[in-house]
Each structure stands twice: as C-alpha cells, then as structure tokens.
Amino acid sequence: MERQHCVHPYIPNSVNDVKQEMLREIGAKDSEELYAEMIPERLRLRKRMSLPDALPSELDLRRHVERILTKNKTCSEHVSFLGGGCWQHFVPAVCDEIARRAEFLTAYSGEYTSDLGRFQSFFEFQSMIGELVGMEVACLTTYDWGAAAGNAIRMASRINGRRKVLVPEAISPSRLAILRNFAQPVQMPSHIKLETVKYDPETGMMNLDDLQRKASSRTACVYFENPSYLGVIEANGNAISEIVHDRGAECVVGVDPISLGVLAPPSDYGADIICGDVQPLGVHMNCGGGLGGFIASRDEMKYVGEYPTHLISIAQTQREGEYGFGYCRYDRTSYIAREKAKDWVGTGTALWTIAAANYLALMGPQGMKEVGEAILQKSHYAAKRLAEIRGVRILFPTFFKEFVVNFDKAKKSVPSVNKALLRQGAFGGKDLTNEFPELGRSALYAVTEVHSRDAIDRLVEAMRRVI
C-alpha cells in the first residue's frame, strides 16, 4: 500500500522515529507484519479507502464544516412553534458552562474513587427529579422518553407477570413505534399486547368508559401522559389510577418535568412508575439530540429490583460524616447478568443528567413555579389570539404548553400554512394531518417561556395574512 506519511496533531506516535522505536521494541518491521499475524490476507483491505482529502488543518476543517452548516436555519434566528417531543426552552448559561467542562464532558465509566463528581451530580439529579415528581427513587437518564416508557411498561409487566398494556390513542406515533419494538411481535412468547384507549373528542382526555371496558385482571399497566402528546392536561389522573389499581395493575405516567412547578406530581394521583424526558430542563434541542429519559418510583423492592438503568445510591464512607455514591443493586444490570438482566443498560445520556441537575438547582421551587406559569399564560395567550382569526380553531381547551390548531374552516392544508409562515420567518406547528386524520387539518403548536408577546403577535399577524 502506497501512503504518504503525515504527522497528525491528534496522534503523537505518528512521528516516524517514535513509531520505528516502538516497532523495534515489539520486534516487528512494520504494522503490516503485525496485522498479518492476526488478520488473514483474504480479509485485509488491499486498497486505500476512497475518501475525500483530509483536512488536518483545524482552520480548513472549521471552514469546511461551517460552510455546510450555514445551510441550516435555527430557532434563534427564526421563531419556532415546534414541539412534539423536543422543545425550545430557556437554557441558563451555567448549565452549558458545567456540561462543557472537560472533566465531565470527557469522562466515561470511572469509579467513585476517581469520578466522585459525576456520581454526586447523578445522585443530586435523582434527588431533585424525585422531589419534582414526588417519588423516592429515580434513575440516571437513559436514551429518551420513549426508551424510559418502554422500560417502565416492561417493569410493570415483570412485576405482575401480565402481558397487556393500555396506552392512550393520543400518543406520539413515534413514541408508540418505540414501545412496539419493546413489546415484541405477537408470535413471540413474551410478547406484550399494546392496546390503545380512546380519547374524548371534546376534551382530548382519556375516555374513561373505554378504559373501564379495556382494563382487566390481565392488564399489566396503563400508560398515559400528562400533558398528553396533544398538549392536553389529563385532569382525570385519579379516576384513571383508581380503575387501574382496581384491576391490580400498575399505573405508569409519562410527564413533562417542566410542568411540575404548577401541575400536580403524578404521585398525587396514583402513579406507581413515572417517566419522562429531561430535555426541557436545561438541555438544548440539538436537532433532537438533547433528549434523555428518566424513570422514578416509590422506594419499594418490587420497583427497585426491576429497573434496567443505573441507580445511584448515597452511602457512608470510612471517614466520619463523609458521603460517597455507588451503583445500587448492580446485579440487576446487563453488565452483570447479560441475558438474565432486567432488559439492558448502556451508554445513555449522563451529561444531560448533569445539565438537568444544574437547571433544577438554579430554578428552585420558585423558578419551577414561575416557568410553569409563564408557559401556561403564554401558550394560552397564543391560542386565544390565533382563535380570533376566522377559520382557525383550537381543538382542546385545557392544555399546558402545546395545543392543537385546526385549519378546516380556512380550507388550508397544514403544509401550505407552514410554507407561507416559513417565508415570514416562523416555523409553524407540527403537522398532525396524517398522524391523527380524525382531527382534520390540524397542527400541534408549542409555546414556552422563550416566546415573547411580540413573537406571538407576529405569528398571529403572519397567520392572518396566510389564512
């Protein structure tokens, strides 16, 4: 193989003299000779990979990547009303400062003796999310809300040995797709049957009659969300959990944690297992790369023993009055038990656990209350103003930060509305037309604390021109 030799700034031993010195010590002529001892000729790539010219100069690389990325538009330069599982919220500078620290950013899986900082941060996150949802156990974050919900329903199924799970019809189709993968196909012996429960067409809340009909002694759990995918505050939490508990099933609630300064914690209305996403808590959207799922429950053996994820426990050390932290019941995890584990744990989203800990510590009880209030008032203001436009309707009246806007009477399709809004510098709401055909030409709008009255008014004016 013909190769030019380059010293790369990321590879100290690419200096030829050093490389030769090491090869001499190993007792080999070159790397080819070493590879030949391990990998048979027929499996070795005989040609140079066909790739673009390298950009080892940092400035060249920066220019190249920046040139590509200038083709993006962002929610900082446009005003965005997109949500549906990832939301634009205010990220305090301290969250970024800490999440970018090399000590946290570049650590991985060291022990508490060398990585005390991340262990303590994880424990503090668990403590604070526990306060927020009203539970005594919470875990280190996993991939996203969908994975957390998938883990939660499987926990419930293992706890009571039942294989039927009720989920709301008004669920994010992509979250439901994730749950389907966790539930396995019907031909498999450990398949979990997912059945949807209808929602009330007026309120958007769960249809309790349908729940009564479908919940049975074979139901492992009911899973519902508050607020729901369609933004609706599920006011019947208590009634749902009573029906569920009456059948001896578990009540699993998915929750947007930024709502919990103003909305009741799910533990107040009978939740046994709670899950959700930490992205709203101090993590940038990152084009969907800011998600991180959490799970919480009571401190009972039947729950603790079924978590697949890492649980960080506080403990005393040999030094009087000193705290340390370690993995609780590590034997549950796939790192120990392989296929006999409680599902699996892998590299998750720990950096977001740390960012969220910073966020909750900065916000405190008053900050969480105020942000919840700001979101409620601003989203309702936007909905109210939009509803003033002829041909625009808001479908469900009781919501937190997202609401369904219907354009049937305006005879405009959602994509055409959104294209027109885009020309005026706004990202319109998520199109629901195909996901929920029964809602007609509808879109899901998200309004949070970041939206100023001015930005909302501009959206309304733009919408007026479009309709």
């Binding site: 990547v65 994010s172 994730i178 790369g289 699996w344 409620l376």
Partner: protein, 517 residues
C-alpha cells in the same frame, strides 16, 4: 523498570462538598424566568385558572434554593472531583476507546444546538448533508455496508435496532416463532446477549477454547440450527483476539438461515484494515463516541451508527436521509421498517463531531489511527510483561487494540487483587481501570486500550504506575489494601448499596432512613 519515568506527586481535589439539597437559604434565586408581559396576563388571567383545580400542584417541590454563584461553585467543585479523559492517561478504561475529542468539534457541534428536529427539510439541509455524507462516504468506505442510520443513542440501542431488524426479517419469512435464538460469545459485550433477549430471543453463548482464546468454529457449527435467528458478536473480542475464521462463521450462520450482526463498538484498530462486508456480515454498528472521537459525556449522549447491506436497508428505522442529487430528504416511506428505536434522528451532534473527526483524518489518518492503536497496544504489552504478578491469559498470540490481563498471580502471592489495585491507581492521578464485563472468565482481570491518542511517554508512565503498585503489593500490601489515600474520597461502605434499609437514591429517602436507623 529502572530508569523509567519518575512518578509525580499527586492528590485529587478534596472539596468535601455537601449534597446540594443541604445548601442555600430559603428565598435565594439562581436564575430568573423570562417575564410574562402584562398584556398576556390580562388577556388570559392567572396561570392557576388555566389548570383544572384537581391538577394544580399544592405543595411546591422541595428543591434547593441557591444563588447563581453558589450553584456554579458547587458544580465546578464536583467537576474538579471528576477525572475526565483530557486530564489524565485514561487508557485503563479499555473497550471504551478513550481517545481525544478535538475541541474544534465541540465548537462546531454548538452550531446545531438551536435546531428543532421537525423543522422543514429546507431549513436543515446542512445537518442532513453531514448525516448523509458521514454514512454514505465515510462509514461506507470503512465498513463496506450500503445504507446507514444514526438513530440509536448508543451501542446497546444499536444492538436493539439490529435485533429488531433480524426479528422483522424472520417475521416476513414466517419464521419468527421457529427462529428464536441469537448466538453470541462470552467475550462479546454483554449487550450482545442482554439486548436481543429484551427483543424476545433466547441467547446461546459460546465460550473460548483455552488454546486460542476464542470459541472454536466447531462450537459455532454445533450451535446453529433451524432455531438460529442470527449471530451478534464482537471481533476482536474484549480480549483483543481477532477471530481469523470470521468469514467462515458468517457462512455457517447464513447456511443455517440466520443473519449476522457485527458489534463494531471497538473498531479502532480496524479502520482501513478489514471490513464487515468482506467478513460476510449483514449488519454492523460503530460507536461514534468511541472510535470516532465524540466525547463520552460521563456516560453519553452517544451514537451507535448502524450500517447494513442493501438487501436489509428496508428494515432500518425511519427516517433515512436520502439525496436526490439536489436536496436531502427524510424518507419515512419505508413499509418494512422496524419503525423507531429512538425519537427523531438520534444524537446528531455526535454524528457531526464524528464527521469532523473523520474529515480531519482522511483515509491515511484513519489507517494511521488504527495502526498506531495496534502498535501502542503491542508496545504496552512489552512493558506489562516485565511487571511482577501480571499475566496475559488465553494464549500467547498477538492482540489487536487491547488485551485482557490478569493479576491472579499477584493475588495469590500478595493478597492484592485487581479491585484493590484499581483503588490504588487513582492515587497516582490515573483513571481507574475498566476490569472486565461479567462473568470474569479471566480471573482478576483488567483491560487497557492504549489508543492512538497516547504518546510513547504516556504509555511508559502508565506502565510505570502499574509497576509501582505491583512493587507495593509485594513489599507493603497494606498500603494498597487501604487505598485510596490521595483521592477525593475514602472507601465506601459498599454493602449499603444493596441493602434496602440503607440504600437511598434520593436525599429524601436518605433522610428518612437515617432518622429510622
């Protein structure tokens, strides 16, 4: 190691930082939320009136109340008590490929932080181009696979996607009931067993032959049957041993009617050297937070990037980024897709960093990274061979990117095992080692992986520390037994972690149990 490097004096920062729940005073504020304009409140009324009475929060959450400098100080101190890769010689964390994550890539990754994934395609052409190019140009050349997907948020989730694709394939063939077994090896990552089990499969695990250090091809032949759904393995395994008959293995599985999934989480020594395609695999995945230089983030966010042969592309999670010659699109119209394993498109900021890393390297640089990581590993082996009490089990043959060593002899002779050793190593400012996944087939194991980031001097120093601890074990075992001495913390009462009367995952639980007990 006379004449070796002189070990420096070290002590980890000790801040004795209280748990944040104990800090602050009532009324302190860390951050002020954007104001709600008067016109807005006038128009909609009080926030509480917008929430049904029974859904209003009655008691505020008992979060700490701190001012901003106090929160920052607390977490800065905690960060100092965390030994990030960039601060130390971190290659004791083998199977993790603790390589340098270039700073410029962090700055570039911030350029996508304020993008919403559901923006109109026209407004995310830049990031879609990065996703497409990284797959169809770089990973294609590296793996020989045809189509790529970045949705999985880590290596294990990539295994989940692969297991679901295998399931779908057999489902379409009407064989998913019959083909219910996935074959793996004990030295493959535990997720290769645990994750397919979650996907509904039974797991068949192959154990190594003592002479070769890997399972024999005969063992695989005996394991396949009409129940075989597929195989999910690493190569090289955790031991650093490359299976030279890997193409024969994939043939055997294919002939039995199964599919072959390649866990390439640790592909660092293979870049430009050998590929999944020539080895006969149908599907593979790479950990972009390992081999491709995206930082590990204290345990994520990460990306398990999947590559598949053309005939399996229809099973990939949706959406897939496609290019029509002018524009990039998100293709959701894939009726045989397994759907989704994670919301949206995965951790795209991780893919962006990997793209920037690979662009900086180019074909020569990638191959150089592979060669140097392999040379570093073999060089380290020479240094370790001279250290008392440490051995290299499972055959004498050469290893690729890492080696699973054993201090069984040291334990027999001094009472110091690898768990003790691992508590002592941090006293020298070296990150604790990754020992081994379970079960410990190799007794008293540890698994260094000195990837291309580390200089010869780094490797010499790291080995000198191990040598020093070995000397201590033989001369003053109590010193090692009672470690750590220079850490941020002393030894933990680990029994409490598994005791339901004492474990506490939250401060609230801790306070309750402390009162009781």
């Amino acid at each position: 190691m006379s004449g070796g490097p002189r070990l420096r004096r070290y002590h980890a920062p000790v801040w004795s930082e209280p748990v944040i729940m104990e800090l602050g005073r009532k009324g302190e504020r860390g951050v002020i939320v954007p104001e709600v304009e008067k016109e807005v409140s006038r128009a909609v009324g009080k926030a509480a009136s917008l929430v049904p009475a029974k859904m209003r929060r009655r008691e505020p959450p008992k979060l700490p109340e701190l001012s901003q400098p106090q929160v920052l100080r607390h977490y800065l101190r905690l960060s100092q008590e965390n030994l990030g890769m960039e601060l130390n010689l971190d290659f004791g964390e083998g199977t993790c490929t603790m390589k340098y994550s270039p700073k410029v890539n962090e700055e570039l990754a911030r350029l996508v932080s304020e993008i919403h994934p559901l923006q109109d395609e026209d407004t995310i052409q830049g990031i879609l181009e990065v996703l497409h190019r990284f797959g169809r140009v770089f990973l294609k050349a590296i793996s020989g696979m045809d189509e790529f997907c970045f949705q999985p948020g880590g290596g294990s989730e990539a295994v989940f996607a692969i297991a679901c694709m295998m399931r779908k394939y057999h489902e379409l063939n009407g064989e998913v009931e019959q083909r219910n077994e996935i074959i793996t090896t004990i030295f493959s990552h535990p997720c290769d067993a645990a994750v397919p089990a979650t996907a509904g499969f039974r797991i068949v695990t192959l154990y190594p032959d003592e002479k070769t250090g890997r399972p024999s091809t005969e063992a695989l032949r005996a394991a396949v049957s009409k129940h075989t759904a597929g195989m999910m393995i690493t190569n090289p395994e955790d031991t650093g041993i490359f299976n030279p008959e890997i193409d024969e293995w994939t043939k055997i599985v294919h002939e039995a009617g199964g599919l072959c999934g390649y866990d390439q989480a640790n592909a660092n020594a293979l870049l430009g050297v050998t590929r999944a395609r020539e080895a006969g695999f149908d599907m593979c995945f790479f950990n972009l937070h390992k081999t491709f230089g995206s930082p590990h983030g204290s345990d994520g966010p990460a990306c398990g990037a999947i590559g598949v042969r053309r005939e399996f592309a229809k099973f990939l999670p949706v959406p897939i980024v496609v290019f029509d010659g002018k524009k990039y699109h998100l293709d959701y119209n894939r009726p045989h897709s397994i759907g989704k394993v994670r919301d949206f498109y995965g951790n795209v900021q991780v893919v962006l960093r990997a793209y920037a890393w690979a662009m900086s390297m180019g074909a020569e640089g990638l191959r150089e990274a592979a060669e140097i990581s392999m040379i570093n590993n073999n060089y380290l082996e020479k240094k370790i061979a001279a250290i008392r009490g440490v051995s290299k089990p499972l055959g004498t043959k050469r290893r690729l990117d890492q080696i699973r060593y054993s201090v069984e002899k040291m334990k027999e002779e001094t009472g110091i095992g690898v768990v003790d050793l691992n508590k002592r190593v941090v006293d020298y400012g070296i990150q604790s080692y990754f020992l081994s996944h379970h079960p410990w087939v190799v007794p008293e194991p540890f698994t260094p992986e000195p990837c291309e980031t580390y200089s010869k001097a780094d490797i010499d120093y790291w080995a000198a520390v191990l040598k020093q601890i070995s000397d201590e074990a033989y001369s003053n075992p109590e010193l090692v037994k009672s470690a750590p001495h220079q850490s941020s913390i002393s030894k933990l009462d680990e029994a409490a972690l598994d005791d339901s009367d004492r474990w506490a995952m939250t401060w609230k639980a801790f306070v309750r149990k402390r009162k009781k007990g």
